[in-house]
Structures are given as C-alpha cells and as structure tokens.
C-alpha cells in the first residue's frame, strides 16, 4: 500500500484560512485519509475482497455572537479546492443561523508540542499483500474446522488491514498530523450437535502485523468457544454471583465511560453526576485511560482538538477521580480538558476514551472460578438494556453454569439484571488476565450478586 501524499496539512490550513476569510471568529479542520482492504474466507473459498481509499474533510467554524460563539460543522469527501472554498463559506453561513453559546470555542492554549512516536504503524507492513492476509484467514478457518468434527460450518474468517493519516489544524496556531495502522483477524465458526447450532468468535487486532496472534491459534480458540456452548439451556430464575470473561467485562467499561463523559455530566444524563470524589466501586477497582500507550489501538499523540493525550486515572481503588473531558465539556464543568476530545473528520469533537482499562488483580481466572461455589460465567451479552441516567442494567446473556468451582453446562436464553452502580460496588474478584482485544480492556470480574432470569 502506498504512502499518502504530503498535501494534508496544506489542505486543512487552507480550509481554516478560508473560513476566517468568510468571517469566522475562529475555525478548525480535520482530515482523515485511509487506505484499506478487508477479505473474508468461508470454507477455504474467498467470500469477498474489498478495497477502499477514503478521504473526509470536516470544517468547524465559530462566529462571534452576543455572549458567545455560534458553531457549525460541515464535511465532504470532495476535496477539490473549489468545493473546499465553497464549503468553508457555507460553514460560516450555517453558523450564523445557530445560537451563541458561551462555552463554545477552540481550546485557548495547551496544544501538543513535539509529537511522540507512539509506534502506531510498522512501515514494513505497507508491503503487505492481500493474498498473504487471505492466507491468514484460510489458516484460521482450517484450524477451527480441524479442532473437532462438530465444527461443521462457519460465518467465515475475516482479515483487514488499514492505514490512516489523521491531520488537524486550527486558527489558534496548532497543526499536526500522524499516521497509524490497524490489522485484525476474526474467526467465527459454528458447532453443531444433536440438531442444535452454536456460533462464537475470537479475534486479534494490532497496530503491527507482528502484533497479531497466530491465525491457527485464533481459529482453534474460536472453535473451542463455539463448542463449549453446545447443549446450552436456560437456568431457573435466581440470584447468584456473576462472572464476566475479559471479552464481556470490557463492555461494562465501555458503558461506564459513557457515564464518565463530561457530556453526560453537564446534561444531567449520568447516574454518576454528583459522585465526584466518592466511592463508586469496590476497592478492587482502578480504571485508567491513557492515550500514549506505545503501540496500543487507542493511542494518538494529540486529541481531536490538538490537545496532548495523557494518562488519566478515572477511578482509583473505587474512588471516582476524573471525568473524560474535551475543552467544551471542561468549560461547562469549570475544569481543564483531559485530552479526551474524540473526533472523526466528519463529526464534532466529544469526550471519549483512548486506551481504557481496569487494572488487573492478583488472582488467576481459574482461582476465581474455583472459589465460586455456584454462579454464572458470562461469555456473551446481547441487547442494549443499559440506561446511563439511572445505571439500570438488563441484558441477554449466554455462558457457563458453575457448580462447586467448575463449569457444568452451557447456559443461554437468560438475562442478567442489576444496576451498574451496585454492580461496580459488588465486584469481589478481579482477575490477573487483562486481555486487549481493542482500545478497551478488562480482566475477569466477579460481581457478588445479580438477578439471572430464566425458566
């Protein structure tokens, strides 16, 4: 795959200048360019190959008004100079139609200085061939099928590789650009036995090709996960300890991140609203967000407003320490930005996590299982039953039933329910097995008590 040409910073600066010329008080622009492919193999045959080059440029303009700035945002994939000029003019005209907001505007200062090399891509990976990656997918698929005769079918094994350049400039004087890559391999086999079918998956994702798990390992692991779901059945409705595997435990962190976002706080839309400094979780819980972990999938040298990314401890031994903030939500709450402005080129910045994880504990997942007399180990969650305003939580679940510290049968067609606040406080075991499958990671967690609804 070829490198990007060098005009990106010129393009975004031109857009900013044009917006100022059209009457903007201040402006910024973001450009995302990507070059990627993905392919899926099913039963050794190619299912699809997809190749793409995409560019999106977004312009945000602020226009002075009584008591604040008016804001508008436009985006386009047509980067011809004429279109960009016209778009910058339109952004300013659109902003004039909105209301002045005392908190609107660019960050005043504190922009990122020298940009660290965070190891977000390996230059040699640009030479990767579609054929080689398709071969990885074939190997994962073959390994899954070879593991057990009950692996009879699959939704396929998918690979993708993408290179991206993110460029940002604003009228406060910041301009920066960085490149990154993402490669992944995903395998989803089907197990069949006694007329019942079960699927499951495993995946690996990394900034560098050599950071991916072995394809055969991905395939075998995915197949083992599908196999252990065979024979699943509901359990009677009960209240028991509920264990979350790392793959599902991270979804709790994602939901918590939404409730820690400054945007939810100033809108009074988070159950954690008045809880800063208080104990919101068990003492076993420490949650960190760090945008500068070398080589990590959520790392970036600066955020969507040019602020340096950094390490923020959000929850320390159960105590709420920090929100996730961009400059706007910071101003709304009277706090500085935490460098968490997240922004696609087409959208406005909003606070979001970078690399977010729950610190691992001392016990191995096996030890946690053994110490659970009777309970439910959740391996997959479906549905959207989470309410950030109240913390109420109720989702469909599948997993394994535990008796005397051992899994005894697979479980499906049940729900688990509680309140995220109560669930965080009731975490009584944190595993040592932090697993990174994306930018959010968690180890095995055990919640002392939740309602499981079944037959």
């Amino acid at each position: 795959m070829s490198a990007f040409d060098s005009s990106a910073i010129d393009l975004v600066q031109r857009a900013v200048q044009r917006a100022l010329a059209a009457g903007a008080h201040s402006a910024d622009a973001a450009l995302a360019e990507s070059d990627s492919f993905e392919a899926r193999v099913r039963g050794q045959e190619i299912d699809f190959v997809k190749q793409a080059r995409e560019r999106v440029l977004g312009i945000r303009a602020f226009v002075a008004g009584p008591g604040g700035l008016r804001t508008a945002l436009t985006s386009t994939s047509d980067l011809t100079p004429d279109t960009l000029d016209r778009m910058a003019d339109e952004t300013v005209a659109l902003a004039r139609a909105t209301a002045p907001d005392p908190a609107a505007g660019l960050p005043e200062d504190g922009f990122a200085g020298a940009l660290p090399d965070l190891g977000l891509l390996a230059p040699e990976d640009r030479g990767v061939s579609v054929e080689a990656r398709i071969e990885d997918a074939r190997r994962a698929e073959a390994a899954a099928r070879a593991l057990d005769p009950r692996i009879t079918n699959s939704e396929g094994s998918q690979v993708d590789s993408g290179f991206r350049r993110s460029t940002y400039a604003n009228s406060a004087g910041f301009a920066g650009s960085y490149e990154s890559a993402r490669h992944s391999l995903f395998c989803e086999p089907l197990a069949q036995h006694d007329g019942a079918m079960q699927r499951d998956y495993w995946l690996t994702a990394a900034r560098r090709l050599d950071g991916l798990e072995e394809p055969a390992h991905v395939g075998r692991h995915a197949a083992a996960r599908a196999l252990r779901r065979l024979g699943a059945r509901p359990v009677p409705t009960c209240e028991v300890p509920v264990l979350f595997e790392p793959m599902v435990a991270r979804s709790l962190l994602g939901q918590l991140a939404g409730c820690l976002s400054g945007a939810a706080i100033y809108r009074q839309a988070s159950f954690l609203q008045d809880r800063m400094g208080e104990a919101i979780a068990s003492e076993l819980v420490t949650i960190v967000d760090d945008g500068r972990l070398p080589g990590a999938l959520g790392s970036r040298p600066f955020d969507g407003e040019g602020q340096p990314t950094r390490r923020n401890v959000l929850v320390e031994r159960g105590q709420l320490r920090s929100w996730l903030l961009d400059s706007y939500t910071g101003r709304k709450l009277g706090l500085p930005s935490t460098g968490n402005a997240s922004r696609g080129a087409a959208g406005a910045p909003a606070p979001g996590p970078t690399n977010l994880w729950l610190e691992p504990g001392a016990s191995s997942p096996e030890e946690i299982l053994r110490s659970t007399e009777r309970g439910f180990l959740v391996t997959e969650l479906i549905g959207m039953g989470f309410h950030p305003v109240t913390g109420d939580y109720s989702r469909g679940a599948a997993g394994l039933w535990i008796e005397n510290g051992r899994p005894v049968h697979a479980v499906e067609e049940v729900t688990i329910a509680g309140n995220l606040g109560d669930m965080l406080a009731a975490i009584d075991a944190v595993g040592s097995d932090l697993v990174w499958l994306g930018a959010i990671a968690a180890p095995t967690l055990r919640i002392a008590r939740m309602t499981v609804a079944g037959r």
Binding site: F48, G385, E413, V414
Partner: protein, 494 residues
C-alpha cells in the same frame, strides 16, 4: 439570519432524474459505464455492477434551550462489484471519474484468476423505477435552516411548559437527500432519489429529591416532506409522549424476573418480528445454513393465524424503497403465512445461489459497502380480537408498549429486546409501570406461543435503524396487539 444555500441546486427530486443528475454532475454516461464493465469482465465472472451515490445530510440539534450547532455532510462515491460464484470483489472510491472507475473495476476483478474474452457489453439506457413512493416538492435538505432552528426552539418551550420536573430537553432534526444510480453488466440502469427526515425529542425529568432522574424519548420520521414535521399537530403529540414516558419512569417499580405471559402493544413492539424472525430469514444466513431457520421452508414456525410480511412498497415509510441498492424493485414478500414459513429475504447474489428470485431486499449503508439481504418494513397482519379482551385474558403478566433496542444471535436463534415502557398485568388489568424489562426468547419458537392477535395493526412512527455486519439502514416494523404465552422477562425482582 440568512440561510446557507445548498452547494448546487439539487433540483432533481424524482427517481427519473437520478441518472441525469449523475450524468451532469460527474459525466457518468453510457460510454464510461461500458468501459468500466469491459475492464471488470476481462476475467471469467458471473456479473458486475456499479453503485453511484451522492448524499447530503444536514442536522440541527438543541440542548439547554439553544440550537448549539448545525451540521451538513456531503458524501459521494462509486462502488464497483464483480461477482463470480459465491465470491465478490469490491472496490470503491470517493472520486467519481472514468479513471477511478476503471481502476476500481480492475481491483474488484482480482477475485477471479481465469481470464475470459469479454462478450459484448450491453448499452445502458437509464430507467426510472415504475413508481415513486416518496415524491417531495422540495428536498428536505433545501428547507432553510432558520425554519428548522425555530421548530426546535418551539419544541423546547412547549416541553418545559408541560411539567416543572423537566430539567433537560434535547431535540434534533435530521434531513437526508440521497441520489443513487445502479448499473449492471446486463444493461439494467436504474436510479432513485430518496428523501429521509427524522425528528427526535428526549427529555430528562427529575423528582423532588433531586437524586432520581429518568429519560423519556420519542421520535418520528419517514421518506416525506420535512414540512410535515414542522406542523404543531405532528410534533406536539410527540413531545407530550416523551414527557409522559419520563414521568411514568419516575414512578416505575423494579421489573419482575422470570417466565410469564406477555402482551405486546401495537406498532413499535413489532421489533419482536425484526429480531426474532426477520434476520433469521435473510437469504445470506440461509444460503450458508448458519440460521436457526435454515432448511425450514414449508414448516410451521408460528401459531395458526400468524402472517408476517416484509413490504418495501408502503408510501413514505422509513423502510420503503422504490428500488433496492441493486436496482431490483422493492415488493411485498410474505415470510410466514398462517404460521408456515414460506419466504426468505433475498438480494441478487443469494437468490442466484439458492435458485430463488430476488425480493428487492439487497441494501447497503452507502457506496462504501457491499449489498446484503436486509429488511424494509416488517410487520404482522392484523387478527380479529379486541385489544382490551387480550389484556383481560392475562391474569399475571407483563404489558409492553414501547421498546429501545434489540439484538439476535442468528445461529442459536436467541433474541432480546428491551422495553422502554411496560406495565405489570394483574388480574387482567394494567398495573404499575415497571422499568428495565428485557424480553428474551428463541426465534423459531416464540411465534408458536402467540395465542391472541388483535385487530389493531399499527406501524411504528419511523425511527428504526437496523445494524448488520457494521452497516446501518433505515427500517420499519409493525404489529397488532398480541399475546405471547411464556416469554422470559429479565427484571431484577427474582
């Protein structure tokens, strides 16, 4: 306040103008199409198609009493697909030019190793769909922004006037105008122009203690004139509903957990059909035999009296299409007839591989995606029973009238969906409102438990978005009041 003008006049507002639009704007003509197909067909392939798209979306959003921002997004590009057996090669570009079309075609054909002598490439005469299900006099993206801002400000004032416990009002108005053009190597060339509008209102209410807050949400929309949403007779009931639901939730009690009889109200609870039945009947999963419904055509999958259809031809509905994203006219497809499985939802690839006819369900989020079989408007036909009688027939159970989202595991058939408004049923009467009710069940089994079907079929208000394989498309659902015996309700009260 002056309103910004659209980038260029998007005057064409009927499907017949889509081809002219792409010809004038991007010089896409019969010659450039023929050249692209020649490149694509140099290898031994079963077919090729092109998908051109130009979409404008704008939105305004209000919170804290003011419209803080206006957005406008323009998306344009073309995707070239080559098909060989079950294989698909796809390449797309945001540059609509003869050069990038040729490059994309040669990339897409890499799925085929053997070369072939290209046959004669058909001449394309752009055609319009036989009908227009969503004619609009003015593109919704051309309505002056000042009018949209005024609407949201009125909504905010009205919502706050309804109840002093409302502490936050968020409202947004989204308008979309999408031109598409599909050309196939067989010589079909058909365009469509698709308007889509949506109004969302969300309020947060706080009780006297200041510690307990709840959300109420309502939305409406469809493929129609934006003016319809500007009418107070349309949006006032919407705001009233959002406020009512927020207040109701302040008084809601924890939901019971366990298996019970459930009555679903009319309209949006049709999401049950979407999750439990619809996805499992999409052609791709059945061709690959990964669906819990694979090989079950002709079998009973629902109680007698249950008939479920997918209908993309309803005028002005959010899920409707003149033609799908492969150029096939949309249609009404019967999926379940009197309890028996009779049909799947098909795109062209899966229909060909299964020896069936395409059903006009080949859809994609945009030119950056491959088409897949997707639902349009999916609903159950009305029965004959009185809804009040249905409620009175349940001694202890749950009455669910509105839902948030749902999800399904196609292979095991297990689905969930979460109620945003539900009540206990006690001795045939509606009791206390409950919060956090999640329903879970088994797709191939749940409709066999339908014991009563009301005469009050209603479609939803036009807010559904369906996600599959990372692609989102607008859909509709509908349901009459029904009773389902023995569904698992996931509450907190064991």
């Amino acid at each position: 306040m002056s309103a910004p003008r659209p980038p260029r006049s998007l005057a064409p507002a009927s499907p017949s103008d889509a081809a002219a639009f792409f010809r004038e704007r991007f010089a896409v003509d019969e010659r450039s199409l023929a050249r692209t197909f020649e490149t694509a067909l140099e290898r031994r392939v079963d077919g090729a198609d092109l998908f051109f798209e130009y979409a404008v979306q704008d939105s305004v959003a209000l919170e804290e009493g003011i419209v803080k921002s206006g957005d406008r997004h323009v998306e344009q590009g073309v995707g070239v697909r080559v098909l060989a057996g079950a294989r698909q090669g796809y390449a797309h570009s945001d540059d609509i030019s003869v050069e990038s079309l040729t490059l994309a075609a040669s990339t897409a054909r890499t799925i085929c190793e053997a070369s072939a002598t290209p046959g004669p490439v058909a001449v394309h005469t752009p055609a319009a769909p036989a009908r227009d299900l969503y004619p609009v006099a003015m593109a919704p993206t051309d309505v002056p922004v000042a009018q949209k801002v005024r609407l949201l400000e009125e909504i905010e004032r009205y919502a706050r006037s309804r109840d002093a416990r409302i502490v936050q009002v968020m409202a947004s108005l989204v308008a979309q105008h999408r031109h598409v053009l599909v050309a196939t190597h067989e010589g079909r060339c058909v365009g469509d122009v698709r308007p889509l509008v949506r109004l969302n209102v969300q309020v947060i209410a706080q009780d006297a203690t200041g510690r307990h807050r709840e959300i109420g949400y309502q939305g409406m929309g469809g493929r129609y004139e934006l003016e319809r949403l500007l009418d107070p007779a349309a949006w006032r009931p919407l705001v009233d509903e959002a406020v009512r639901v927020a207040m109701l939730n302040l008084d809601a009690v924890p939901c019971p957990a366990g298996t019970m009889d459930v009555v679903l109200g009319p309209g949006w609870p049709g999401i049950l059909l979407h999750e439990a039945i619809g996805h499992g009947l999409e052609g791709d999963f059945n061709r690959k035999k990964t669906s819990a419904f694979s090989d079950r055509l002709g079998q009973r999958v629902a109680a007698p009296g249950v008939t479920v259809v997918d209908d993309g031809t309803l005028p002005g509905r959010r899920g409707s299409l003149n033609v799908d994203d492969e150029g096939t006219p949309s249609q009404r497809t019967v999926l379940i007839e009197d309890g028996v499985l009779v049909g799947y939802l098909q795109d062209r690839l899966n229909a060909r591989l299964m020896g069936m006819a395409p059903t006009g369900n080949g859809r994609r989020e945009s030119y950056t995606h491959l088409p897949m079989p997707r639902m349009t408007n999916t609903f159950m036909l009305a029965g004959s029973e009185d809804p009040g009688e249905i409620l009175r027939s349940v001694s202890q159970g749950l009455y669910a009238v509105s839902f948030g989202g749902g999800q399904v595991d196609i292979t095991s058939g297990k689905f969930v969906f979460s109620a945003s408004e539900a009540y206990k049923i006690e001795d045939g009467r509606i009791g206390a409102p409950v919060k956090g009710a999640t329903l879970i069940g088994n797709g191939p089994d749940v409709l066999t438990r339908v014991s009563r079907i009301g005469h009050d079929l209603a479609l939803d208000q036009g807010v559904g978005t369906c996600g599959k394989d990372g692609q989102s498309v607008p859909v509709g659902v509908g349901l009459p009041t029904i009773r389902v015996d023995g569904l698992t309700v996931g509450g907190t009260q064991a």
